[in-house]
Symmetry: C2
Amino acid sequence: MTAESGRRSRGRPAGGSSGDTRGAILAAARSQFAARGFAATSLRSIAGAAGVDASLISHYFGDKAQLLVATMELPINPLDKVRSVVEGDVDGMGERLVRTFLGAWDPHRAVFSTMVRSTFGSADPRTTPVFQLAQNVLVSALRGRLSGPDIEVRATLVAGQVVGLAMMRYVIKLDGLADADVDTVARTYGPAIQTIIS
Amino acid sequence: MTAESGRRSRGRPAGGSSGDTRGAILAAARSQFAARGFAATSLRSIAGAAGVDASLISHYFGDKAQLLVATMELPINPLDKVRSVVEGDVDGMGERLVRTFLGAWDPHRAVFSTMVRSTFGSADPRTTPVFQLAQNVLVSALRGRLSGPDIEVRATLVAGQVVGLAMMRYVIKLDGLADADVDTVARTYGPAIQTIIS
C-alpha cells in the first residue's frame, strides 16, 4: 500500500540458491507441524508447500524428526544426544539421561528457558516444537527401549522427569537446584528416573 | 480524563467492611510477594501497606504461607494437602504425594494450566505465586522431613517431580499421561519420587 511495498522480496529470487530452498522447506515445516502436529505431517506435504521435490528434504535434513529439530534452530542437536543415550544400555540410562541432558543444555540455559516459555505461553502447547520434540523424539525413543507394563505411561513419565527437571533448573530456577552441580543432580535424580525405566 | 473517571472508587469506602479489609490485605500481599519474594516479605510490611493492624492478617488468613495461598484464590487449599501428606509417614510418601496432588488437581486442571502458563509467561517466574508456593511451601515442608545427604537438592527435585508431572498432565498434555488414571500414575511415579525421599 506504500511506495516501499514494491521493494519487498518474497525471499526466494528466481533460480533460488540452496539457502532459499532450505529456508522455504523450514518455513513450510514449521507451519505444518504447528497446524497439523508432527505425526499427521508428511515430508511430501511439506515439499508441496515449499515447492520442492520431497527428496530434497531428505537431502538437506534427513528424516522427519531431524527436520523438526532443524526448525527449532537449536544450539545443540538434542536428537543425536537422545538417541545416543537411549540406544545405550538400559542399566544406568536414568543417570546418563540427566548427565547428557544437563551437560548439553547448561551452557544454553537461556535458549532453553526462552523455548519453554514460548511453549507455555502458547494458546495450544501441543502445537509447539518443544511439545513435538518431547512427544515424538524423546517419548518415542524411550518407548522402544522399555519392557514390562504401562510402557506408554512410563515412557511419558521419564520424558516428563527430564523436561520437568530442566524447567525447574533453567526456567523456574528453584533455589538449590538452579546451581547444583551436574554430578549431584545426576547421582540423585538418575536413580529416580531409573526406577521408572527398569 | 473522561467524564466517567469521577465515578471511580478506590474500592475501600470509609469505615470499610471486613470484605474491604481482606481485599486490601490480599492486594498488598500480592504486590509485596511479587516485588520482594516470599521470604523477604513480612506480615508487618503487608499490614502497613494495607493500612491495617498486623494482627488482623493472622485473624483473617493465619500465617504467611496461608496468606500466600489466599492470594492465589485457588479452588482447593494446596497447603492443607501438602502438609497432610508430608507430615505423614516417610514410607510411601512418594505415592501419597502423587495420589493427593492429582486427586486434588484433576477436577481443576484448567485452573492449574492457567496458573502454570501465567507463571512461565512471566518475565520473572520467581516472582509468581506458583514459584513461591513450590519453593516456600512444598520444598520447605519436604526439607524438614528428609534426612541424609543433599537435602536441599533432594527436596527441590521432589517438588520439581510433582510440579513437572502436573505440567505434563495438565498443560503439555503428553499423550498417554494426560488421561492415564490416577492409580496407574501413582503406582508408577510414586516409587520414583520415593527413591529421592528415602
